[in-house]
């Protein structure tokens, strides 16, 4: 027997000049990846050049805006990192709860996930900040981080659950049969293996969280967007301010997403 499987290669047929085409190109090995790669470079370099150009060519609003933002950018990062930290903790607990054999723990964790994923983040932010504010006396930043963590904890929980469930059950059986308790099995055998599966989606959540911290600007937490809004409301440079802010977000998230892609590739290799 010689050939038995279909030919996995397909060739380009450049004869048609239609606008949208089915890819059949084989020249590029990973057309998807390299497509985005080029788009990445284009977007990143484009955003950077645009920022520099605007600041140099029209320093009047743009350099003023840029000078106005740094503490806001810092707050954005602070909220993001603090939130991701607590979201990870909460996500770990939730993930463990979701795979728990204990019916009650399981339902509690699942309900948390269902409820939190069913309510818009903005509503949760308002709720924690203003509504619960009456009963829970916390500073702004803490309220913002709390709301973000509770929300993202649910998503993280699903990531942890998937990561834990991706580990072969034979690992659990082997550990248990050696005499490890359930807890030891989880923390010594399952989780140390699961992090490879967990890390890349966590990276994506980090980026999403960074973007979503823009919502805290509504709570008078002076993040980057809030600073921009303040500037614009004073100077009426709405267009210029939002342009610059969008570009800065873009640069930051593109850098992060490159990092995540890099991590993903490294994890998938060895």
């Amino acid at each position: 027997m010689f050939s038995s499987t279909g030919n996995p290669y397909f060739t380009a047929m450049p004869e048609d000049r239609m606008q949208f085409e089915i890819t059949e190109g084989s020249a590029i090995k990973h057309p998807r990846y390299s497509g985005l790669l080029n788009a990445w470079t284009l977007s990143f370099v484009g955003a950077l050049v645009a920022i520099l150009y605007l600041v140099y060519s029209r320093p009047d609003p743009y350099w003023r805006i840029l000078k106005f933002l740094p503490d806001g950018i810092l707050v954005t990062f602070q909220v993001t990192t603090a939130s991701i930290f607590f979201a990870l903790l909460l996500g770990l607990l939730t993930g463990l709860g979701r795979v728990s054999g204990n019916r009650i723990v399981n339902v509690v964790a699942s309900t948390y996930v269902e409820v939190v994923r069913g309510i818009p983040l903005l509503v949760q932010l308002f709720y924690v900040y203003y509504a619960l504010g009456r009963y829970l006396q916390v500073p702004d930043m803490v309220a913002a981080v709390l709301a973000m963590s509770v929300c993202y904890g649910a998503y993280m929980g699903e990531i942890f659950r998937a990561g834990i469930q991706s580990i072969d059950k034979g690992q659990t059986e082997a550990a248990r049969s050696l005499g490890f308790s359930k807890r030891q099995t989880m923390f010594l055998v399952i989780l140390p293996q699961a992090w490879r599966t967990i890390l890349p989606p966590v990276g994506n959540e980090f980026i999403m969280l960074l973007k979503d911290t823009s919502l805290v600007s509504i709570l008078a937490v002076t993040d980057m967007l809030r600073r921009g809004r303040e500037f614009a409301s004073e100077t009426f440079y709405y267009f210029e301010t939002y342009t610059l802010i969008a570009l800065i977000y873009l640069v930051i998230t593109l850098l992060l997403s490159r990092g995540v892609a890099h991590m993903e590739r490294r994890l998938s290799y060895d």
Binding site: M1, F2, S3, S4, G6, N7, Y9, T11, A12, M13, P14, E15, S26
Partner: protein, 246 residues
Amino acid sequence: MTKAEPIISIRDVRKFFGQLQALRNVSLDVRKGEKVVIIGPSGSGKSTLLRAINRLEEVDAGQIVVDGQNICSPEVDINLMRQELGMVFQSFNLFPHKTVLENLTMAPMKLKNIPREQAEAKAMELLERVGIKEKASVYPRKLSGGQQQRVAIARALAMNPKIMLFDEPTSALDPEMIGEVLDVMKVLARSGMTMVVVTHEMGFAREVADRVIFMDHGEIIETGTPEHFFVNPEHERTKLFLSQIL
């Protein structure tokens, strides 16, 4: 070897995949009504050659003339040309979202604007020919591999092609289903269709082929009648290959 009126004429065709040369100066003429069987080891370029005939692969040098048209030329309407060239794949590739009947009527109706009734009548006739008329309204996934391949042949025939190309039509099939597909192909051969068949079914080659072509490393090594091949092959590589396969 080349007689008058070749319906396919392949001249000095070369094809590269990156560094790898899949076809090296291949030339071949196929006359109207002729049955050509291509054999050769895996990776020898059989599929590439077959696919080049209807430009599923673009060749890098040489020319391929089908029914008087140079199919490599950018001026040729390749979609029209391909209607002349029925193709059957190893993996059937029926359209799973269409019934068997729709698989057969879709191309004629959309491409040749044949009215539905007429297309369906033709389709039923073809399904009868390949022996699965009763499955007309069924979806392909409900069919066995052999049945699917017979539908695929009928689908290609529904466009009234002048030439049929087969790329290992039976090698994805369980042994008990190979026969039913080969039978359909034999009937088709007897009807006078021009056929180019890549296959390892030597029984079929012996029975049907006017000419057998042995390829290796992108080259045509040897050409001849089935008798010549199975009784008295010339080249060492041909002998080796046949000894392995028979």
